[in-house]
């Protein structure tokens, strides 16, 4: 990074620290903060979509769909996260490869499962082994997003299911009395009003999601906790920047990062609650009405 960094053993003090904090490994560390933020930004809406779908299915009048919705949230919520994270991405990956294998290599005569090995033809590999490393990493990242979305979607489905039932029934009946169809009642009366009931549960999920990102490393995505552990560990003179065990400082840094993220989230969620309470038949909504009157 800086010109004086060419021989780290000859420098000390602040310039050593400047070089140390800007070496290739630390650059990857700083980059991993971005990875975590991007993961959160993609996973949260994706999980909400899974949750919405699950909640809608669980309310369905058609029995098999109702089973599907209830089964999804019950099953995923019952399985430990770690078991799920080790299973789902592997299963998804092998499922994709199996499908591609069937399409691209119909002439393949060897079995796909050979003992412990999962062998598909080279053209069916996801991604191809010849693709550069960043493609592999991006693919792994999206498998991770999918796994997170499925898990957190199941919890969100339960929260939204409860929220949909919390909207006062009289509102829906009024809608029907005005001649609205079921669909119109659902989208125009139920959905806009349910968020205020879902928000406490959803905000909990968001906080848990923030803390769950270290599970990424199980899937080979190098996140901030992985790098903090790797960088903080004691380094012997085989490294250019030897130092004793500094994990404490790195994890203190992470503590500050996570706490600030929590603080920002709380501020945003408080604002959202205020906005969504407007005109609602809840205590907060009633207070707003009185204050305005």
């Amino acid at each position: 990074m800086f010109s004086f960094c060419s021989d780290p053993s000859t420098i000390d003090g602040l310039s050593w620290l400047a070089c140390y904090l800007t070496n290739g490994k630390h650059m990857a560390f700083w980059g991993s903060f971005g990875v975590v933020m991007v993961l959160l930004a993609i996973t949260a809406p994706a999980a909400l979509m899974f949750g919405f779908g699950g909640a809608m299915a669980a309310r369905s009048r058609v029995l098999p769909i109702r089973w599907l919705g209830k089964g999804y949230s019950a099953m995923v919520r019952g399985i430990p996260d770690i078991a799920f994270f080790l299973f789902v991405p592997f299963a998804l990956d092998q499922g994709f490869e199996w499908l591609r294998h069937k399409v691209k290599c119909p002439d393949w005569d060897e079995p796909i499962r050979q003992g412990n090995d999962f062998v598909v033809c080279a053209a069916a590999k996801m991604p191809l082994s010849s693709s550069p490393q960043w493609v592999h990493e991006t693919y792994g990242f999206f498998l991770a997003v999918l796994a997170f979305a499925v898990v957190f979607g199941a919890f969100a489905a339960n929260v939204l299911f409860g929220a949909m039932r919390a909207v006062p029934h009289g509102q829906m009946e009024t809608g029907v009395a005005y001649g609205m169809t079921d669909r119109q009642v659902f989208w125009r009366i139920l959905v806009p009003q349910m968020w205020i009931y879902a928000l406490p549960g959803l905000s909990n999920l968001w906080m848990i999601l923030i803390k769950a990102t270290p599970l990424l490393f199980l899937l080979g995505v190098e996140d901030i906790v992985y790098w903090a552990r790797e960088l903080g560990g004691a380094k012997t003179s085989i490294f250019a920047y030897p130092h004793p065990d500094w994990r404490l400082y790195y994890f203190l840094g992470l503590l500050v990062f996570y706490l600030s993220l929590t603080k920002v989230s709380e501020t945003v969620l408080a604002r959202l609650t205020r906005k969504l309470s407007h005109g609602q038949a809840t205590m907060a909504g009633e207070q707003q009405r009185k204050a305005a009157a």
Binding site: D107, Q114, N116, F118, V119, G220, E230, A234
Partner: protein
């Protein structure tokens, strides 16, 4: 009939092509946390003895190789499900592992494992000993009667001794050597011979790659270049071929 044979030949030919293409790029899986065998250097790249050996093997076997890192815990599952093609991560050849994956011949001779502790008179058979999860050392500690304390990374096993959580750490002697030389840890107890040396791990279905790497390792042993690398990374006292 003629058409059929032609078709079959074309098929066989394309299948052969696909097979040859199968390893157009060999993905080399390593842990990246076990200096001097393999570690992530300050530039963020895989470095160490195994990086140099691996690159040389790829050159001799005329393969294009790419390095990837994976956590030790899940390094075998990721190999068998095809996320990379080799494990070159200081993995000792043992009978248990050989049931799940295949190994090439060893590129690192059978070596000693050793205990390191804060004082030399720790009774390693009756104390708390730290070792990395799913290593031959962890297996040995469990059988020795000492209390085993497992950690996910080698670095954490050493840290556990330094902060008093464990009485001693048990690991490959060549991994601990630089740590003993540069910190207040000292050797304790007797050295133990474990495993049949370190080999490259491969899927059992990958016989072709195994043959190529075996030949390359043999040629490095024959011309002495492997010994040069061993001495470069582990010092003059290392056992050579």
């Amino acid at each position: 009939m003629k058409k059929l044979i032609l078709g079959a030949t074309a098929l066989a030919f394309s299948a052969g092509l696909a097979f040859a293409e199968g390893h157009s790029v060999v993905r080399m899986g390593t842990e990246g946390a076990y200096p001097p065998y393999n570690f992530i250097n300050d530039a963020g790249e895989v470095d160490g003895f195994e990086r140099e050996v691996g690159d040389e093997l790829c050159k001799r076997a005329e393969l294009t190789c790419e390095w990837v890192t994976n956590e030790w815990d899940s390094i075998i599952p990721n190999l068998v499900s095809g996320n990379y093609d080799t494990i070159i991560a200081g993995m000792s050849i043992t009978a248990e592992r050989d049931e799940v994956i295949d190994f090439t011949q060893n590129y690192f001779p059978p070596a000693s494992s050793a205990y390191a502790a804060l004082s030399a008179d720790v009774d390693v058979a009756h104390s708390v000993v730290a070792a990395q999860t799913a290593t031959i050392q962890a297996g040995h500690v469990a059988e020795s009667g000492a209390t085993l304390l497992e950690f996910a990374t080698p670095d954490e096993t050493v840290a556990a001794v330094k902060n008093g959580e464990a009485d001693a750490v048990f690991a490959d002697k060549d991994f601990l050597a630089s740590i003993v030389a540069e910190s207040d840890l000292v050797w304790a107890g007797e050295d133990v011979q474990l495993g049949d040396g370190i080999g490259v791990g491969l899927r059992e279905s990958d016989g072709e790659l195994k043959a190529k790497l075996d030949a390359a390792i043999q040629s490095m042993k024959d011309d002495g270049s492997l010994n040069v690398l061993l001495k470069k990374w582990f010092g003059e006292e290392i056992t050579v071929y």
